[in-house]
């Protein structure tokens, strides 16, 4: 019984911890990163633009979960990572501004923007 109580406390603590520190995604920061960093390569030429409204919310969720960039040649996370931001920050103001943001937070921000700006999102968005 004693151990059961301890176990319950442990589980509760664990859940509380994750709830207390759950990150509240900032779609506006995601918007700036997407439009300044992602779109800096995904221009009309040579790669082609990818409007947030070109996919549904489910498609964006699957894309981010799959984490395959350029058809699996590398990962999406790589382009959101601190290391990547550090590598381009001299020529990209968004990368410089968000240089210290934890990777997962920035990824959540971008996911929030894409969910909102998706074809079936609350505010379908373009690249600009």
């Amino acid at each position: 019984m004693k151990f059961t109580n301890q176990l319950t406390v442990g589980v509760a603590l664990s859940l509380l911890a994750s709830a207390a520190f759950a990150y509240d995604a900032d779609w506006k920061r995601g918007r700036v990163y997407y439009r300044s960093v992602c779109t800096s390569c995904h221009a009309v030429q040579p790669v082609g633009t990818i409007n947030p409204s070109s996919k549904t919310k489910a498609e964006w969720a699957a894309y981010l979960k799959g984490d395959k960039h350029a058809k699996g040649k590398d990962t999406v996370k790589q382009y959101v990572s601190k290391a990547y931001r550090a590598s381009i920050k001299s020529g990209n103001k968004a990368a410089e501004k968000f240089a210290a943001v934890p990777d997962q937070e920035l990824l959540d921000d971008i996911a929030a923007f894409l969910t909102k700006g998706a074809k079936d999102g609350d505010a379908p968005a373009s690249c600009n």
């Binding site: 151990f3 059961t4 301890q6 176990l7 442990g10 589980v11 603590l13 664990s14 911890a17 994750s18 207390a20 520190f21 509240d24 779609w27 506006k28 918007r31 700036v32 439009r35 300044s36 103001k93 968004a94 410089e96 501004k97 909102k116 609350d122 505010a123 600009n128």
Partner: protein, 536 residues
């Protein structure tokens, strides 16, 4: 203790440490609890907001339980009253009253226009301007970007999916007011822009220097609002006091000679001017430019063009061509090569512009409107919707950049007045539905309470919009030759001497002759000195 229990307990503890550890380590100050730094209140924690809201006023009631004075403050503002008494001219202005040459007027079109009112339910003259719960807090304080007030619902929100207009098959989706209310925060470019970017009926239509490219602009579009740089919101300059937003289109500050604002200074004036931050002599390296600042508004050089964010602004609107139908009697829409609408049966012909060079005038801040009660003679000249005051000699004027919007709009040739047509609305008299000016103007004038003869003509008008936003980086400010040339930007500006523009042939000839004679004298004198020196 069974092994699986020990293992589970260990995993839970590890989970706790994993969750808290990085935060504590990052903060390096374990005594500080993690908090939101952008607000002093986490509205998700308020029980008042943890409920289902079925209407906007229900949310407002919840807000007012804590923010007891907010609605009363809003009631005193232009954003609420849409009415403004101009102390300079004595004219009663405000959206409720003025007529323009875009969608023309609010009267009889309240249900559509008032989706941009900071209130709920203003559908006609019966609206209760004293109601506190009719104040819309979320229009300015939404942070989710999901708050919407569709046109046609008198500023109300949709909390259950609905077909609108009825019978159209178009479904307006419900918004989750509870989620939105729990995420309220400071106003932002997005909240202000929801209305101010879309003035005149669409993105960038009206102002020219305000459109959705300003939601998260690059430095090239606006050096202050640059989302990866200074990141100003609208309220950074339009500093708000008791919910009253500083800065006015009706009484703009054309010349601010009060210098930079200081804390505690008794009369700081309008905080939304350039001078309020940059002072009256902002050019540190080129002091000569400060002399320019005595007569030339900062905006003239620092906003070289408007509509620079990739969104076109409307430059002309000809209502007189509205009403055409196709062979089947249906409304027509025409688009240009870029897919932008340039003709609609319900509105007439438009022209659009991007990267538009402003027009320039002397401006002293006084704006006099042509109101519905004013008599107008139809002449060869365009009638000014708003007359911009100013002259080179009044000591109050500066040279300002303007977007001048030109159009042709319906007019009563017997009473010699502008008219207020009923345009929006899913009824038999709404022009945008039935394309019938007779009905639309009769109903609109009856609603606004002004006489209508029954005769309709069209009159050419123009309306000036001082350009204030889309300030370019200093490297992109105008160069000297843009004005100091014969056909420069200030070619038509009277009452000021502008070198190069204003050269006089006779004066130049005399001047160069003096230079030539001076040089001749110097060389002649030198030659004589050399010659005489050799003789000795």
């Amino acid at each position: 203790m069974p092994t699986f229990m020990r293992t589970t307990l260990a995993l839970c503890c590890a989970g706790w440490l994993a969750a808290t550890g990085p935060v504590l380590a990052d903060d390096a100050k374990p005594e500080l609890k993690p908090v939101k730094l952008t607000t002093t209140a986490d509205h998700t924690k308020f029980k008042e907001l943890q409920q289902v809201f079925n209407s906007g006023p229900e949310v407002t009631k919840a807000c007012l339980r804590c923010h007891t004075e907010a609605a009363g403050q809003i009631h005193r503002t232009k954003h609420w009253k849409w009415e403004y008494l101009n102390p300079q001219t004595g004219q009663t202005l405000g959206k409720k009253t003025v007529v323009n040459n875009f969608c023309i007027s609010v009267a009889s079109n309240e249900a559509a226009c008032n989706s941009c009112h900071v209130g709920y339910g203003w559908k006609d003259a019966s609206f209760d301007f004293k109601s506190e719960e009719n104040v819309d807090c979320l229009a300015c304080h939404d942070t989710t970007g999901n708050y919407k007030k569709p046109s046609g619902l008198a500023g109300n929100v949709v909390t259950k999916d609905m077909e609108f207009p009825p019978g159209s098959g178009k479904i307006l989706k419900a918004i989750d007011l509870s989620k939105i209310a729990q995420k309220v925060g400071k106003s932002s470019r997005d909240t202000c822009g929801a209305c101010h970017f879309n003035g005149g009926g669409g993105d960038g239509v009206k102002h020219g220097d305000l459109d959705s490219s300003m939601s998260a602009p690059e430095k090239e579009v606006d050096v202050h609002m640059d989302a990866t740089g200074l990141d100003f919101t609208c309220a950074t300059c339009h500093k708000t006091s008791s919910h009253d937003v500083a800065g006015s289109r009706y009484t703009p500050t054309a010349k601010d000679s009060k210098g930079a604002h200081l804390r505690g200074k008794a009369d700081n004036g309008n905080p939304a001017t350039c001078v309020a931050c940059h002072d009256n002599a902002p050019h540190k390296k080129e002091a000569r430019l400060n002399q320019h600042a005595a007569k030339i508004a900062c905006q003239t050089c620092h906003i070289p063009s408007f509509a620079r964010g990739g969104i076109a602004t409307k430059m002309t609107w000809d209502w007189s061509t509205a009403g055409q139908r196709d062979a089947e009697g249906k409304h027509i829409t025409k688009k240009d090569a870029k897919g932008r609408i340039i003709y609609e049966s319900r509105k007439g012909d438009f022209t659009l512009g991007e990267n538009v060079k402003p027009e320039y005038v002397w401006f002293n801040g006084q704006v006099t409107y042509t109101l519905i009660t004013d008599k107008i003679e139809k002449t060869g000249q365009r009638t000014p919707i708003n007359k911009i005051g100013g002259s080179p000699s009044d000591g109050k004027s500066m040279i300002w950049p303007m977007k001048v919007f030109r159009g042709s709009q319906p007019y009563d040739p017997v009473n010699k007045t502008l008219v207020t047509p009923h345009t929006a609305g899913n009824d038999d008299t709404g022009y945008w539905k039935n394309l019938d000016w007779d009905k639309a103007i009769a109903v609109g004038m009856n609603t606004s309470g002004h006489p209508f003869s029954g005769k309709i003509d069209f009159i050419k008008t123009e309306m000036s919009w001082p350009i204030n936003h889309m300030v370019a980086p200093k490297e992109k400010a105008l160069g000297c030759v843009e004005c100091h040339s014969k056909d420069g930007r200030l070619a038509g500006i009277p009452g000021i001497y502008i070198p190069v523009r204003d050269n006089n042939k006779l004066l130049d000839t005399v001047g160069w002759a003096i230079v030539f004679l001076t040089l001749l004298g110097v060389f002649g004198h030198a030659t004589l000195r050399i010659v005489t020196a050799r003789r000795h």
